[in-house]
Subunit: 334 residues, 2 copies
């Protein structure tokens, strides 16, 4: 902690604060962590990597593409940036340990917004058992983050996309479709619907990743672009066909309520509510659930739901047929 | 390697290629590495971290701020982005092992430019003994990179900024002032001067970092903002005064030639050539030399030059006096 947070007036801008001032302000809101042997403030951080291997992934979070400042609080944006990265490590079967954050902001951004962002980053890292260990700042016309997550496998073999085999089960942990429905609701001017929270800050099931690895998961992926699209990556990498059962993917009452709200308005006029809700489940992105394949004799704990099977062939089907609804998911484009 | 590079017409744009096409194209130019246990193409990479600790740092490289496409080739930009990050790990006394690259580009960027960038990243990583192990792509109005470097300490204690003590020697490895002079030459329309190469792609002394750690360096930093500014960080973190000897910092003939070219034009009319050249040595950034402090009985190998001493007090002096020339270095602002 470089100086006490909160000493700076909320209305002060990042531009008035300067680069070193901004770093000091952000650092004040990022708690140190015992695994960070060297934390923020030197040329590089040093993080414990007890396994002898480190898992690493880097992700953009862009204003206008992944969030809007008029829809999301600074804290929401921090949580979302961290969540999107942290779950990538869990999807390998590892425990997230550290996060590096490159943050570019407009000069007229209020310092209070940057502080909220740091709080959100710290809060989501704490949920996952990780900590912010370093970063960089710059100026840009809009808010831009690049988060790099590091994680520890604790002796596990990494779970790749390429290990699924015919006969395996397909299962998911976490919610599906809420963030997609939330985006539709925000776009339609209904920010108070409970589902919009899922779009503002997803709640990925971090623990389910290492758990799946311990259960012998043969393949795993983070659902960021939509269930069909991301299972398509497993199918392609593994050279298999995945067949999903729509009755295992029944939309919950929140999704059905949202679908009723939209009726036939944003989708084809003849689409029944259930099909609309199912489309969010199959194609909605940004919930950051985990999908994994397991040997058929696995005993899955609560939190995991079997949704299909792996077969000979290539691609992804629903009830044995190609899905003819909205097939992919064209990322948030505010 | 996802597909053979070079199959795509040079004039094709990134926009026509699409995100997955761009990633495939970049991957084709990034050689796999044995330390990347899992490389590009899964949710995260897995890198060997034999020491049980991992060193990590993240850096922006922004068009207009750190490079200009009309001054630098794509390969230069890739080399510079990698170099700026890789040396941060060396400055902790560690060996760089992996690099993650987040790349945002305009849609009308030629694919050939992206390919050149990947070649430059790979070439500089190879110089340092590291490899590109992962990344992300996005669209932006100008080219933007965020590079995250990982490194291994191989049993060494990390060398911090805070360990310098009165009585220590101050030494540097690598060139000083060339990149700053190169920027002045490029700005003045003299792109063919040999010094401009140092601005386009610095050549940091990666091996000198672990070497200094092995020699018992008490503090170390990468010279990115200028010698005085960066030694100021060591002085502040260590609570010491650093006194430099100007006769140990004598500008080389290339810098003196460049200073003669500028004469009194860009600096105060009365400034002699030597003072102009010395200003580049003391205040020019982006050469990415290393500065370190050592116990006075150290036997420094070739490549390291003693330039001053550590004393009681606080701050950085030149020949016992505050430097009154250009004190800081206001980063490239093309």
């Amino acid at each position: 902690v470089l100086h006490a947070g909160g000493a700076i007036a909320d209305q002060e801008t990042v531009s008035a604060l300067g680069e070193f001032g901004l770093i000091a302000e952000l650092s004040a809101w990022l708690p140190p962590d015992r695994r960070a042997l060297v934390g923020i403030g030197d040329d590089a951080a040093v993080l414990a990597a007890p396994d002898g291997r480190v898992v690493a992934s880097t992700d953009f979070l862009l204003e206008g593409r992944h969030f809007r400042r008029d829809w999301s609080s600074a804290r929401d944006v921090g949580r979302k940036a961290a969540a999107r990265s942290l779950i990538d490590v869990a999807a390998m079967g590892a425990v997230p340990t550290g996060l590096l954050v490159a943050l570019a902001v407009p000069g007229d951004l209020p310092v209070s917004w940057a502080r909220g962002l740091a709080e959100g980053l710290a809060a989501e890292c704490a949920r996952a058992g990780a900590a912010v260990i370093g970063g960089d700042t710059a100026r840009a016309d809009s808010v831009l983050l690049v988060t790099t997550v590091l994680g520890d496998l604790a002796g596990r073999a990494p779970v790749l996309r390429s290990g699924a085999a015919p006969g395996d089960l397909v299962a998911v942990a976490g919610t599906l479709g809420h963030a997609g429905a939330g985006l539709a609701l925000l776009s339609a001017g209904h920010p108070d619907d409970p589902l919009t929270a899922a779009q503002r800050h997803p709640v990925p099931p971090y623990d389910a990743g290492p758990q799946a690895a311990d259960l012998g998961a043969t393949a795993m992926i983070d659902i960021s672009d939509g269930l069909l699209a991301d299972l398509g990556h497993i199918a392609a990498a593994s050279g298999v066909l995945i067949d999903l059962s729509s009755d295992r993917l029944a939309p919950d009452k929140d999704l059905l309520a949202a679908a009723r709200f939209f009726g036939g308005r944003t989708f084809r006029g003849s689409t029944p509510e259930h099909l609309q809700a199912l489309t969010w489940v199959l194609s909605g992105g940004e919930d950051h659930a985990l999908a994994a394949t397991f040997k058929p004799d696995v005993a899955l704990p609560p939190g995991w739901t079997v949704i299909g099977t792996v077969q000979e062939g290539l691609g992804v089907l629903v009830d044995g047929q190609a899905w003819t609804g909205s097939a992919g998911w064209d990322h948030f484009s505010g």
